[in-house]
């Protein structure tokens, strides 16, 4: 089952994800969830491609899936598409309409709340400068490794501030210039005691919120192995992917990791169970990787969302486009013709010297 096996139709399924880290298949929760899903639904019939430039995806984010000529992005789209492939096993059974509705709501809740917790444990100051930035920088090629991790952090900072999970610290470096320090990966200097006190209060608030979310999932789990059946369903995969990314790394400030291990062991056990079902079960096969040779310097050119799928233009629109180009051509031709016929621009041919002398002699003789 390698990438060059083109006879099996499903072998052309390629999933593009953020690269692996911390012993897991990907360092981003939705990418990891996509890998777990594919491993449980079409084991061995897909290949992974690790990519650090999400700009090539139709939505600008990883994960995205390419299957021959079709490109699907975002986790729900990928799950829907893959469950419709011919030889895929069904994870969700046959729920009633009401149960299906409840699961949709829970999946959205899991993705947003646990996604915020993962972002908090990755991108807050100590963990970012100590663990995540070096990891990201090692994955990325030379020009990107200096500025892309900070950009990713800024994106997550907006969301965490809106939700109220961002600790209120001011990062003002004392003597070094900000640009130089961030390029070299140096953490900004330490804060004064008032900031430390404010951060402790913010930490308590964060822990309150985290406890509320984790309580919800523990109560939903009700002491069983998985949420609905005796095997993982899509909700199990989403919750486990986020939990694994909080548990597996060893960050300098393991607040959430310690919280889960000490107070919510059932969630940690659930995550490990899903991982073992995905990779150590009887019907699983190891992951295959595919490397592509994209030029990393071409990633510097901005795309402005040109990869997003645009709808096919209708007949009327095509006709209008043709007429528009026809009008432009007519304008150019008529401008050139006008300038040629009206002597605004005269092209004069200068004759040779003998002819000019002879005509003068003729005139003199003629007189």
């Amino acid at each position: 089952m390698s990438a060059s096996d083109a006879t099996t139709p499903a072998a052309n399924v390629v999933l593009h994800i953020w690269p692996r880290a911390f012993g897991l298949a990907s360092m981003e929760p939705t990418c990891l969830a996509a890998v777990l899903y594919l491993q449980l639904v079409i084991p061995g019939k897909f290949t992974l491609e690790e990519s650090t430039t999400p700009d090539y995806s139709p939505s600008g984010q990883l994960p995205y899936l390419t299957h021959d000529l079709v490109t699907i992005s975002s986790l729900p789209g990928i799950m829907t598409y893959v469950s419709g492939l011919p030889d895929s096993s069904k994870l969700d059974g046959h729920p009633s309409a009401k149960e299906k509705a409840q699961r949709t709501a829970w999946k959205s809740h899991a993705a947003s709340t646990l996604g915020d917790l993962v972002a908090y444990s990755f991108y807050t100051s100590a963990n970012y400068w100590g663990l995540i930035r070096p990891t990201l920088a090692k994955m990325m090629p030379i020009p990107q490794r200096y500025y892309v991790p900070n950009r990713i952090r800024e994106l997550h900072k907006l969301r965490l501030e809106a939700v109220g999970l961002w600790p209120t610290e001011t990062e003002e470096p004392s003597e070094q210039s900000k640009l130089g320090a961030s390029l070299l990966g140096k953490q900004p200097s330490t804060k004064d005691p008032k900031e430390v006190a404010r951060n402790t209060f913010a930490l308590e608030q964060t822990l309150e919120k985290a406890r509320a979310f984790l309580d919800t999932y523990t109560r939903l789990l009700k002491g069983r192995m998985f949420f609905y059946y005796e095997r993982p369903s899509t909700l199990d995969i989403i919750v486990a992917a986020h939990t694994l990314l909080i548990l597996s790394p060893s960050p300098p400030d393991p607040v959430l990791k310690d919280l889960i291990i000490e107070s919510y062991p059932s969630i940690a056990v659930h995550a490990r169970l899903v991982l073992s079902r995905a990779f150590l079960g009887p019907a699983t096969s190891p992951l295959t990787y595919h490397t592509s040779s994209t030029n990393t310097w071409s990633a510097l050119i901005p795309t402005f969302g040109s990869n997003t799928p645009r709808p096919e233009p209708s007949e009327v629109e095509k006709e209008f486009t043709n007429m528009r180009w026809g009008w432009v051509g007519l304008v150019i031709v008529s401008t050139i013709g006008y300038l040629w016929l009206n002597p605004l621009v005269v092209i004069v041919q200068v004759g040779d010297e003998d002819e000019g002398v002879r005509s003068l002699e003729d005139e003199e003789v003629g007189e």
């Binding site: 999400p54 600008g60 009401k98 949709t104 709501a105 959205s108 646990l114 950009r151 990713i152």
Partner: protein, 283 residues
């Protein structure tokens, strides 16, 4: 005027030539117009002649909450700029207390507390049991995520002239696409490109596909019940659902087709509108 150091009499006589008068404070015209009924400060309604429900989802959510808890005769006013509210946010509730004899402005987070003082409350906030209250959190996050993103994308773009002529309006930070998703959207100029990040790149068709699934799920969960999650009386979740459904049905965009196709949602919205709209009067 008491002073620690006693003023010598000649100086006191000199100061007596320059007396100090203190006048009562002059109230602004708006303050003079405060009424004794509880007044809600909101963003302007869609159509003031039809009903007084705000065009902003946050304000509409709180209007629906107050009305569904059983209060009525609440006045609304929309002549204030959002900066006039606490923290620069509307809605705010302005109440008059007889005992203090003064007006009090409440932030939206304090509105449930105020409603509890006016109407009795139970521990479960109207839900049937703890399970239902747990499930309501999931529905709230679905609405505030996917459905809110679709509503933002469906808002009619303002014309260039109105954007130039009107003063810069305060945009609630939660109304931006950058903060709705837990996985933040990439910048339009590309994450790895040489330009500084600007703009937001959103897969519009993906958002609308998920929105469609969310509306189908909402409709399936409602079924034939009177209130969501089969509660016996309306809850905060019903207020939120009403706010989103009313906004969706008021825009002339194709997202309202998804809601119109679900007959039980349309009927529920209609019934809730007849309960909520009469509770408010113009200031």
């Amino acid at each position: 005027m008491t002073s620690v150091i006693p003023i010598p009499p000649p100086l006191k006589a000199f100061f007596a030539h320059f007396p100090l008068y203190v006048y009562p404070p002059i109230q602004t015209r708006e303050r003079q117009e405060y009424s004794k009924f509880p007044t809600l400060w909101i963003h302007p309604p869609f159509d003031p002649s039809a009903n007084l429900l705000s065009s902003d989802i946050e304000c509409l959510k709180w209007q629906a909450y107050i009305a569904l808890r059983g209060l009525s005769n609440i006045l609304v006013r929309w002549d204030f700029h959002p900066d006039a509210g606490i923290d620069g946010h509307l809605p705010n509730l302005c109440t008059y207390s007889e005992s203090a004899g003064d007006y009090e402005l409440l932030d939206r987070k304090m509105i449930p507390g105020w409603v509890d003082t006016q109407v009795s409350a139970d521990g479960l906030d109207g839900f049937n049991d703890e399970e239902a209250k747990l499930e309501s959190e999931a529905w709230i996050s679905l609405l505030e995520g996917t459905v809110h993103a679709a509503v933002i994308l469906a808002q009619p773009p303002k014309s260039l002239l109105s954007e130039i002529m009107s003063p810069p309006s305060f945009q609630s930070p939660l109304n931006s696409l950058k903060v709705i998703f837990a996985q933040p959207p990439a910048p339009l100029s590309g994450l790895s490109s040489i330009l500084p990040p600007s703009g937001t790149q959103v897969d519009v068709s993906g958002v609308f596909a998920e929105y469609k699934n969310a509306i189908v799920a909402l409709s399936d969960r409602l079924g034939e019940d009177k209130w969501f999650l089969a509660s016996s009386r309306p809850t905060a979740l019903d207020a939120l659902v009403f706010a989103y459904l009313h906004s969706i049905l008021s825009y002339s965009h194709h997202i309202r087709l998804e809601v119109i196709r679900r007959a039980n949602l349309v009927a529920w919205h209609h019934r809730a509108l007849h309960i909520i709209a009469p509770c408010f009067g113009a200031h």
